[in-house]
Symmetry: none
Subunit: 196 residues, 4 copies
DNA sequence: TATGAATGAGGATTCATTCAT
DNA sequence: AATGAATGAATCCTCATTCAT
């Protein structure tokens, strides 16, 4: 795992901003270099091709994403709290970086290329596996309803999380994500917790 | 609402196929004309610009989408059945047109342009309103849990539906969408129905 | 064998001129389009890529070359006269198109690419085979010395022909190719004819 | 005549390798520096420009070439033996450095630039002059046929030599150059020696 | 002596679009 | 209704070269 140089980080950040604010189609080397304030060829000192930049963006997302799920997994405490942590982390993260909301769940963005879409699929299945472990722990401890499979539960947990973020983005950040997101979580918790 | 000419319909269909199978970036006038078997300038006899074609694609999606929700709304019967209908219609639709799965929830595709993204947002809020009505009916009849708001419930209903379709697509249609989708719906139904 | 369109012919001609007068490195799409007086993209209406243009240039050379050897082969008369015809045709051809001299024997020009260099090699071996037939006829009729193999003779015939043309080019056409070429041929004839 | 520094020699050698193996178009500062294992700017410590490197390459060729002809000239013995020496030296040289065959007669390579092509022409005429001296000595001693001019003979000697090397290269070194070259020389010798 | 970072100019190619026919 | 030919603007990327360190 080669760490990014400062410039590389800067390029990735700029790329994310552009994708987020103006869409993938506007992610051109020219726009990228303009955003950073260097010439177009200068980009190529730091990345061999545009594809490598995209791959870098994906790497960035992967790390963010996995870090959330890893932290959740390694937390002490009951399963619902871990899930709450995942929700809250997402909301915090996006509230702080609204632009990311346009990008993070855009599997479609990376769908053009085999290399990219394969990694997106891998990432998705990785986070799902983490989620499975949390859910299974919840089954065992009796904290989560066990009349649903882990696959179903994971979909019911992640689907609404993704959707509220997409809506927040489409509404041009027209509501308070943390607050609404919290309400969503509480509602969801009622559904998935084992009735006492 | 001007109806499409036959050629216009053909162009829209080809555009959808291209977007679905190869991604938005491959939707060029050249590829479009090649797919239809006419020359590039011929496209411009039928649409003034590429944007108009995109607008046409969106219109197509809108109609599909609203038709599902309209039918569901006008159905007789209890709310859960209407929701089940919405789920099933989606699964049927995508099972029959797998390529569309790559597209249909791709709000990001239309995010470049103001005109497009405004309509996407409008569409989303329109279907949401239909859903609200169904949910409210469910509240009133006591078929749906009423300790959740309609906003929360709508997210919890539509989020997993979208997610399973996205996963189906990312898995390259690697599982039986109708079957898995049905299981998902049954699981979800357990959660949102009012306990008897 | 698809015939060239008028524009394609024009492009090939311009390409040859540029290579001849300014070298392969100056054969750019920009220079090509400037020479013809159209825009750069317009070139691509007529050839899919620069490589295809190069292939076209090669085709042109092949046809010129094979036509000379074919005519010589089908001539009536003694072998030395056929060889003389080959010599004279070359000198005529290059005197009329001095620029070609820079190109025609430049196997190196086409050496970059597999597809190109394979065809150059094929062309060379084809003309050599024609020459072999002429030489063998000369052996049989007793017009040519037969104490040399056809391979050796073909080298001794074509080598000096190529060299004088290259020198003529390097001297910036500083001598009369037809006249000097003729003297060269007469000298060569003395050597390869069977002494009476 | 400033001697090359060690680094300069290294650069020239690398340049020749690249031209020989991959063609002139691949001779870029980047490829050059990569081949040597230094950075691109480092090249400019040793040569002011790419043109100077090309000039250096030419110098290298000049020295190789003139050394062969000089040695031949200063040899004792009959003219045909000197010519044989020239042939053999060439075959030896290229057998040992096959890649060079792609380059050595590539006057076209240096044709882009005035400075370069002038020196190529000068080199050619210089070796020709050496050859003239050898031929004249052969005339005087009665070892060479004198019914041909020295110009004609020189062309008939050098033309086939060049051609067999070019063919060897185009055949991807598909035959034994030394052996075939020797046969070629023996054939040629029969032609140009004065009959006893 | 060397390098990391940068750049203006230019490379081939594709884009959406226009126009004469 | 359709096309062949064309184009300005933009695409990604490479070139030889420079500069500060």
């Amino acid at each position: 795992m080669v760490p990014f140089t400062a410039r590389q980080k800067e390029i990735i950040d700029a790329a994310i901003s552009i994708i987020a604010e103006r869409g993938i189609q506007e992610l051109t080397i020219k726009n990228l270099s303009k955003a950073i304030g260097i010439s177009e060829p200068a980009i190529y000192r730091h990345y061999d091709s545009k594809m490598d930049i995209l791959l870098g963006v994906l790497t960035f997302f992967e790390e963010r994403n996995l870090s959330i799920f890893n932290k959740a997994l390694s937390m002490a405490g009951p399963a619902p709290e871990k899930l709450e942590f995942i929700y809250k982390q997402h909301f915090n993260h996006f509230s702080n970086n609204p632009a990311l909301a346009a990008v993070v769940f855009s599997e479609e963005i990376f769908q053009n290329d085999q290399r990219l879409s394969a990694r997106v699929a891998a990432l998705m299945s990785k986070s799902q596996n983490h989620l499975f472990k949390i859910i299974e722990a919840g089954f065992n401890s009796g904290e989560l309803r066990s009349d649903l499979s882990k696959e179903e539960l994971s979909m019911i947990i992640m689907g609404p999380l993704r959707l509220i973020i997409i809506r927040w983005h489409l509404s041009k950040y027209g509501f308070d994500l943390k607050q609404q997101g919290n309400k969503l979580w509480k509602a969801l918790k009622k559904l998935i917790q084992k009735a006492q």
